[in-house]
């Protein structure tokens, strides 16, 4: 048993009914959702702390008199002398990490800014398209040509 034929004329009648009720208003466009944090990452307090404290001490800062202080100074000098290569490497690593974080924060801020601009542009484009659509549709529906010099949206 074959499928019943689809009558194009019936579909066109339905289209006509709907078209008669159509009102040419611009489609409503809600601004796109901004989910990203807009605060600049470069201003993050953690980054400021890292900038201030990335350089750890590389020598003993023990001071004072007395045998105990003398012993702490000697031990301290010995320990810092023994670990000097490790501490220097760690200092370099920390420096690089802080610089890397700095660049990442800067890049993040730029991307966030570009994303925001893109969202703004999309909002503007959709709003413009909605307005154009209404203008075009009204013009075409009434058979009115564009005014001279109007190149459209």
């Amino acid at each position: 048993m074959g499928e019943a034929a689809l009558r194009a004329s019936e579909l066109v009648e339905q289209v006509k009914e709907r078209a008669n009720r159509l009102v040419w208003t611009p489609p409503v466009h809600e601004p796109l959702e901004r989910t990203l944090e807009r605060r600049r990452l470069h201003d993050h307090p953690g980054l400021s702390f890292a900038h201030r404290h990335w350089a750890l001490p590389d020598h003993s800062s023990e001071s004072g008199g007395g045998p105990k202080a003398w012993v702490r100074r000697v031990v301290g000098r010995f320990v810092f002398y023994a670990l000097r290569h490790y501490l220097q490497a760690e200092r370099d690593l920390m420096g690089h990490l802080v610089r890397l974080n700095d660049d990442l924060a800067k890049r993040c801020d730029e991307l966030t800014e570009a994303h925001g601009e893109l969202l703004d542009e999309l909002d503007s484009r959709f709003s413009g398209a909605a307005t154009s659509q209404e203008r075009l549709a009204t013009m075409l529906d009434r058979g009115v040509p564009r005014p001279p010099g109007d190149r459209g949206a």
Binding site: L11, K16, A19, F126, A129, A137, L140
Partner: protein, 418 residues
């Protein structure tokens, strides 16, 4: 055979080496003759129909084409045809004057019944094209045709090449509803021995003009070829199926009504890819943003675009056959066309698509196909069945044309004199 259509009996005539050529000779008089061209845009419906009908006769006859076009008087072989170019180019001013005149006449309903006096005056205005067929009578005499076919009905100066009482078969290429344009210039269809049309709609339009007592009138259909492999591979720029294809006969930057309608469709359906085929570019709209690509010149590319589309919106189909609409239907893609033309009659007759009268209805038609995924394929299949039957069968087309022309069905190519 069509009722009352006379059968043209070929005359035996000696060939070059004493053989008797028994194939009838047919002369086709055509103001324009398409001799190729890379772009499908350059192939207008009149040229395609003329060449198609002439090609259908080549199986039964030697077909000679006489055309005024060309830079010089020459004869060349174009496939199965011998083309005799007269080199009488219609002056552009005359062509323009003729176009204006025709538009002016057709824009008035009263022009449907032009009196003979008015027709004479019009011919005087177009007097500059009297020399268009100069040299044609000599060619005609050398060919000694068994059958003359006149393609088109807007000729002038045909008397220079064919006598007023000479029999001919007319291929009127009538593009106007109710045959509005048929009585303006030459030939006089009432004097034809048979008339051929390429669609049922055209047949009715011509019939309304020539009346029931006129010459035998046959609808031969046409052979509209599409490459079925277009369905196997999408267009390289649009790999995703289900887009809306809009055929827009204007340049991408123009502010014509079709171009504005195409923009409206693109803006109305931001979530859907809309591909607009302009004369000079393929513009693909995604999310209200237009990407301009190179023009679609190859026929295969156009067929691929049609085959993978959800629907084909033909904003301004040609008035004679609506070739692009038929091609879309042959590729099972429903067509959305303006109301009131041949394209709408195809679509309505086949239930192979929808039609619209204004911008709101155009959007409504596309929305209907968007809302229900079932409607498009069903309309597409119905359209394919109709188009395949009327425009997809070479054998049927050839039979109908030879029958309508009154040519015997079978011939020996060359028979030696006993």
């Amino acid at each position: 055979m069509a009722p009352d259509a006379p059968e043209h009996q070929p005359r035996s005539r000696p060939g070059a080496d004493g053989a008797i050529d028994q194939r009838p000779r047919v002369v086709v008089l055509a103001e324009r003759w398409p001799v190729g061209g890379a772009s499908w845009v350059e192939r207008d419906a009149e040229s395609v129909v003329t060449r198609g009908v002439a090609a259908a006769l080549t199986g039964s006859a030697d077909v000679h084409v006489i055309t005024p076009q060309g830079d010089s008087r020459t004869t060349f072989v174009d496939g199965a045809f011998s083309v005799h170019s007269l080199g009488n180019v219609l002056h552009p001013e005359v062509a323009l004057r003729r176009s204006f005149l025709m538009e002016a006449l057709l824009s008035s309903a009263d022009s449907a019944q032009l009196s003979g006096a008015v027709s004479t005056r019009i011919k005087q205005w177009l007097g500059d094209c009297d020399g268009l067929w100069d040299g044609g009578s000599a060619v005609m005499s050398s060919i000694e045709p068994d059958l003359v076919m006149i393609a088109g009905h807007l000729h002038c100066g045909l008397a220079a090449i064919i006598g007023s009482d000479a029999p001919f078969v007319a291929l009127p290429l009538c593009a106007e509803p109710n045959g509005l344009d048929l009585s303006i210039l030459e030939p006089d269809l009432a004097a034809a021995t048979a008339i051929m049309t390429t669609s049922e709609a055209e047949r009715r339009d011509v019939a309304s003009r020539v009346g029931p007592t006129g010459p035998a009138l046959s609808n031969t259909g046409l052979l509209v070829a599409v490459n079925p492999t277009a369905r196997q591979e999408p267009h390289s720029e649009l790999p995703e199926p289900g887009y809306v294809l809009v055929l827009c006969p204007s340049r991408a930057d123009d502010l014509t009504r079709p171009a504005e309608l195409a923009r409206l469709v693109a803006l109305r359906f931001p979530g859907r890819v809309v591909a607009v085929v302009h004369d000079d570019a393929l513009v693909v709209w995604r999310r209200c943003e237009a990407q301009r690509l190179g023009p679609v010149t190859r026929h295969m590319d156009l067929w691929r675009l049609m085959a993978w589309a959800r629907c084909t919106v033909d904003l301004r189909p040609d008035r004679l056959v609506a070739l692009r609409t038929v091609e879309s239907m042959l590729l099972s893609t429903p067509a959305v066309v303006p109301t009131g033309g041949r394209a709408q009659r195809h679509v309505a007759l086949s239930d192979g698509g929808l039609w619209y009268a204004d911008a709101a209805q155009l959007l409504g038609c596309i929305e209907s196909l968007e809302e229900d995924d079932d409607i498009g394929p069903r309309l597409g299949e119905q359209g394919r069945r109709y188009a395949s039957e009327a425009y997809g069968s070479p054998r049927r087309f050839v039979e109908l044309v030879t029958e309508a022309a009154g040519l015997p069905g079978r011939h020996l190519a060359v028979v030696s004199r006993p």
